[in-house]
Symmetry: C2
Subunit: 150 residues, 2 copies
């Protein structure tokens, strides 16, 4: 099991380093960890403040405050639901491309920059490894889903 | 640059899948994303509420609320600073081992469970890949540090 321990150490280090790098880069752009978290959540599709609160584990009032800061920064807009005016949706103010122009580290070109200098073979090797990791994560998620349905 | 795009897609998928799995598992243990975040921050060494607020980007009052929930759950304790009684430290109630017994998915044995069934060769390959990723992250962090000192 020694090789698993080694992998575990490396993963914890990867996690620590990426959180650290991410925080530093975000700070440079004047945006907080919390704000980035919300932007990532609504990048694909708008969410309600209630959903964002559930996803993050922070109370409604806190999320509402973070949304206000993002609104003031021109990143997001609040929009009342057409059917039920009490429900408020939070969506990107512009499209994803525009967001990634303002915050390049959220976009996929950041990976090019981060790994600049890597050979094609090394990149292919990483792709293989992450494909393997993802297949295990997916399997675990499905097991988790089955457990919940029971 | 096509291979970089592929890697980028895979990394985004890894990120999405691990956040999803992590949230589901945490939910099963009745602990929120926010609570886990704070536990991870104080796992190595105690932090003040001010530090936790800066690290997360959430206001002092919110962090204080999350700390209270963790305190009620018996995970952490608040401790006044010996020198300056206005400063409050948040530390683990027990040691890390005890914490990992209560929340096994925070410990390193979770990696064994997650990747059970992987061959030794596959694990070694992952180790190589993560070693490579970490060296690039570290390099980037150093560059970032130099930029800040200028």
């Amino acid at each position: 099991m020694e090789h698993f321990d080694r992998l575990s150490e490396l993963l914890m280090q990867t996690n620590k380093l990426s959180v650290e790098l991410f925080s530093k880069v975000a700070e440079q752009y004047g945006i907080s960890h919390a704000e980035i978290f919300l932007l990532q959540q609504i990048k694909k599709s708008p969410k309600t403040i209630g959903e964002l609160s559930r996803l993050s584990g922070f109370p409604y009032s806190t999320i509402s405050g973070v949304v206000s800061r993002l609104e003031a920064g021109g990143y997001v807009v609040r929009q009342k639901d057409q059917q039920d005016r009490r429900v408020v949706w939070v969506r990107l103010a512009d499209d994803v491309e525009q967001l990634e122009r303002r915050l390049p580290f959220l976009g996929k070109t950041y990976v090019h920059e981060l790994f600049a200098g890597m050979t094609k073979e090394e990149v292919e090797k990483l792709c293989d490894s992450f494909r393997l990791v993802n297949s295990y994560l997916l399997k675990k998620l499905e097991e988790q889903g089955e457990r919940e349905r029971k």
